[in-house]
């Protein structure tokens, strides 16, 4: 495996380092097979499957209210579907919803804003317009972004998104 590729086990290690035990998820084509399924088999995680992504924004907020950290896993299409919940629950509600978002169809090595895929192209501008911090994770060297991003989200009680640019293996 080339050093620049993403490893699911590395992402899982970083998530655990950040103190995450609850994962709220709706399957994302980018991260389902190697990442979500592995997490679902891992006894260190409690996985809450949702029927629609906006539920997850609120479940994560409820978990925060109860004193727990959590991670919401979804595809970028689900994030776009959840914009009102992101607005009212995560941003205005000052809840540190941490999202791991698969950028299905993004071309390798191409910045999301330069993608030919419309939905991928608009994801970062949408997050910017909402004031939601985001970090692109596409290569093994990007792993170091994950824990500080989660820590900052909880310290500031603000949401953030880790955008997964390619399928982790």
């Amino acid at each position: 495996m080339a050093d620049s590729e993403l490893k699911a086990e590395d992402i899982i290690r970083e998530i655990k380092k950040a103190g995450i035990h609850f994962v709220v998820a709706l399957p994302d084509r980018v991260t389902s097979h190697y990442l979500l399924k592995t997490i679902m088999r891992d006894p260190d995680f409690k996985v809450v499957q949702v029927c629609k992504e906006d539920e997850g924004i609120s479940i994560c907020s409820g978990l925060f209210a109860a004193g727990h950290r959590s991670l919401m896993m979804m595809q970028y299409t689900g994030l776009l579907d959840s914009v009102n919940s992101l607005r009212g629950v995560a941003v205005e509600g000052e809840n540190p919803v941490c999202m791991l978002v698969g950028l299905l169809g993004k071309e390798p090595g191409v910045a999301p804003t330069q993608s030919k895929k419309y939905g991928v192209k608009i994801i970062e501008p949408v997050l910017d317009a909402m004031g939601i911090e985001h970090h692109l994770v596409e290569e093994s060297g990007d792993m170091q972004k994950i824990v500080p991003a989660i820590e900052k989200a909880y310290a500031s009680t603000r949401p953030m998104a880790v955008l997964i640019g390619r399928e982790p293996k």
Binding site: D54, I59, G62
Partner: protein, 188 residues
């Protein structure tokens, strides 16, 4: 048909240390009828009450979580019935204040008002126990048992508006009160 505020007053008499999540008109009334640091009204977007309550219930399996949801709200998040049944929190009680309208938004009727069997939707989603109440006496009589049974439990309360209470949306979504809730829950 019961008055919603009277339902909350009955609940107040039975309440011990449960966490109560409420949305819209039930939330407005709750802040007057039973103020409590373990009240949670910070749901942020319509339809999300049941989901916030699930997060809290999963995070604190040692505490009973009762949510007073609205029928218009639940229709916006019907999938949450399946999500909740799948997560199967034993400490979760989902009360629906069914008044057939979007009361906060001008009392426009919900689609198929009065013709939806919400308990059937909950049962089909996988809730192991459901109740339906249209008079206060039955609600009062069963409530102690409901608060002890393993959930998730779905309770359909057939209600109409009662007394008018002052509305304060800033209070409902206040970060200060949300943080007070977090602190109170940590200590309880």
């Amino acid at each position: 048909m019961m008055q919603r505020d009277e339902c909350l007053k009955v609940f107040k008499r039975h309440r011990k240390d449960e966490i109560v999540v409420a949305v819209y008109m039930a939330a407005q009334e709750m802040t007057h009828i039973m103020p409590n640091d373990l009240n949670y009204t910070f749901t942020g977007a319509m339809g999300q009450g049941s989901s916030h309550a699930l997060g809290i219930a999963l995070g604190r399996p040692d505490k009973r979580v009762v949510v007073f949801d609205g029928d218009g709200s639940l229709l916006m998040n019907l999938g949450s019935l399946v999500t909740i049944a799948n997560a199967a929190p034993k400490n979760y009680i989902h009360c629906l204040c069914e008044n057939g309208t979007y009361e906060t938004n001008g009392s426009v009727p919900i689609p198929r008002a009065g013709q939806i069997r919400f308990v059937d939707l909950a049962k089909a989603a996988g809730y192991p126990k459901t109740y339906e109440f249209s008079n206060l006496w039955d609600w009062d009589y069963e409530l102690d048992n409901i608060l002890k049974e393993d959930g998730p439990i779905f309770v359909d309360l057939k209600v109409e508006p009662g007394e008018a209470y002052p509305e304060d949306f800033r209070r409902l979504y206040s970060i200060e009160y949300r943080d007070k809730f977090r602190e109170a829950l940590k200590k309880s």
